[in-house]
């Protein structure tokens, strides 16, 4: 851009100094031109070279009258027209100044990776790395949060308050609020969760929950949505066999601090010892384990 301006200013000044001396820029071209014209016919191109010889000057004047007949005495037209030719040249070779077209490596990687959507959806300017100021702001934010504990609680427990309109709940609501806080602090179950109920009742609740979950998974599968893996159902403590305590012996009965063996047990132990890992004994223990491990699920 700057280069172009400069040239234009020289153009304006050119017509005044035209008679005296050709501009130095065209010197080399003129030399070539003269050489050419010495050997061949003179050229009748409009242009700055026309200034060098008299015959060409006439030509140039002709051109001027052709080009700008109405403009009268101002004869810089041809110069300007060929200056515009030169402008084209400048535009062609000039450097295109674009300081911002360099994308940083990260953006480049994001775009050129195989991913599809993230790259185009991503804003082209990524957030700057966290500065000290931002960290300070974060600290401030957390302090604010602490100050707002009361508000947080209110928000959390507001569903209890729809009847009461004071901020410190009383009575039943107070107990419920306490329970919620206990849970948020890490209590495993609610204090008021029903622990005892008829088996049929509990089974019903369980079955309903399961069917709900199943339906959700089914729908997700049909729609092609990928869900989380089904969580392993935790083993309840007393499925299969009862807990045998520290002395988890597989024979006999442990009661009152003593292992009581009846005759059958003794016979079995002796039999397995004699057979030296006999097939039957082993098979039996394995079968027992299988039953214990629970083919319930």
């Amino acid at each position: 851009m700057v280069v172009k301006r400069k040239r234009e200013t020289t153009v304006v000044s050119k017509p005044q100094a035209k008679e005296n001396s050709p501009p130095p820029v065209d010197n080399a071209q003129d030399v070539f031109r003269r050489l050419f014209e010495a050997q061949f016919e003179p050229l009748d191109l409009p242009g700055p070279t026309a200034k060098s010889t008299n015959s060409d000057e006439e030509n140039e004047d002709d051109d001027d009258s052709d080009l700008s007949g109405s403009e009268g005495d101002w004869d810089g037209m041809s110069d300007i027209s060929d200056e515009s030719n030169q402008v084209e040249v400048v535009e062609h070779t000039g450097t295109y100044a674009a300081p911002t077209d360099r994308m940083d490596k990260k953006t480049w990687k994001a775009f050129m990776s195989g991913k599809l959507l993230s790259d185009l959806d991503k804003p082209s300017i990524e957030p700057e790395p966290t500065s000290k100021k931002e960290e300070e702001e974060d600290a401030h934010e957390s302090a604010n949060l602490k100050h707002d504990l009361a508000l947080q609680r209110l928000l959390k427990e507001s569903h209890l308050l729809d009847s009461a309109d004071d901020l410190a709940p009383t009575g039943k609501n107070r107990l419920k609020a306490l329970d919620l806080r206990m849970q948020s602090l890490g209590a495993k179950t609610s204090l008021y969760a029903q622990t005892k109920m008829p088996t049929a009742h509990r089974r019903g609740i369980k079955a309903k929950a399961e069917s709900k979950e199943d339906r959700r998974r089914q729908e997700a599968k049909e729609n092609g949505v990928i869900l989380e893996k089904p969580s392993k159902v935790q083993k309840s403590s007393n499925n299969g066999r009862r807990d045998r305590g520290l002395v988890g012996s597989s024979v006999g009965k442990f009661a009152g601090g003593t292992l009581n063996l009846n005759k059958d047990d003794i016979a079995r132990v002796q039999a397995s010892g004699r057979r030296t890992m006999g097939g039957r004994g082993k098979g039996k223990t394995r079968g027992g384990r299988g039953g214990r491990g629970g083919s319930k699920r």
């Binding site: 295109y96 077209d101 775009f111 050129m112 195989g114 599809l116 185009l120 082209s124 092609g224």
Partner: protein, 402 residues
Amino acid sequence: MATSQPPLRFTSHHNLVYRLVLSTLTGRTVHISQIRSSSPTNPGLAPHEISFLRLLDAITNGSQMEISYTGTVLVYKPGLITGSTAGTGASGGMITYELPSNCNRGLSYFLIPLCLLAPFAKAPMKVLFTGPGVITSSTPTGDMSVDSVRTAILPLYKHFGIFNNIELRILRRSNTGPTGRGGGGEVQLVFGHQVRLPKTLHLMNAGRIKRIRGVVYSVGVSGSNNARMIETARGILNPLSPDTYIFSDVASAPLVPAPDKTNPQAKKKIGLGFGLSLVAESSTGCLFSADVASPPSGGQAPEEIGKQCAFQLLETVAKGGCVAPAAVTTMFTLMTMGSEDVGRLQVGRDVIADPNVVQLARDLSKFGAPGWGIRDAPDNGDGDVIVSVVGRGIGNVGRKVA
């Protein structure tokens, strides 16, 4: 199920790929005859069409194809689209598919139809394209570059609710080989989102162009070509859209084995050249793309390529509508496969007047899809039309069973 129906009869090689795709999606057998039967020198199926049939064979289970001696008659009985399940030619969950060196079509010729099949597969579709016939750039035969497929075609699947785990990695780039055939690229497609039915599409607001992105690539030639292409393209596009960025990728030329008598291990460089892929995104998520690459014979300056591509992009945008011509078959096919509901799509008049689109519409109706309703778009003077497409509700046969 589909066996009882008589095969659908088609003639000529036009639109062969989409006929095969539709056949696979609907489960109808097709009988295509008179394939280049009038050509005295090259009658019958072309190498790239054979390659596509082999690809179909690789990703489906139980499809049968019969080709006559001259190759002018093809009977294709589709199987189930399995994707890349273990035991069906997939190693490590990835089907490796090799293209022969006499292939003169760009990889997008295979990729775009494959992506149409992929959402209806039983398992995720993972295909690795290798071999001496993989051309990742755009080609003189009119195929777009793989970059454009990634940036301009695949994001469109989002409109149909298909967006998870879709990746197209260009592991090695290659332009067209010296005679216009062959390359040496390597491309990996992962299409991991399978659905029962694509969502119904209503896209009637093209919005305004928000940003322009592009990829400029040089394979085996100087990276300064990239800068020159970028400069020219940006010079044209920047005044129109300030958010224009073109990413540059310089790759070395791929080596393909070229054994001769003295040296059986010999390799040669192939696929040198450069090219440019531009994508314009509108504020409503419509994508328009343009693609130009250096011709295999060479002799074109990078500035020329950059300029051509920029103008091509402007022309594509000027055609109007919500869909670029390159993506219109994808959109209409997915709409037809959608649920039994009317989807609407605004399309430029020039886009729908394309012979390929008309042919697609005829083929679709032959496959039993209801006709399209076309009416003028109400509020714009560009002469856009709104096309209403009723879905067939077939969707994913494989998923219905599973």
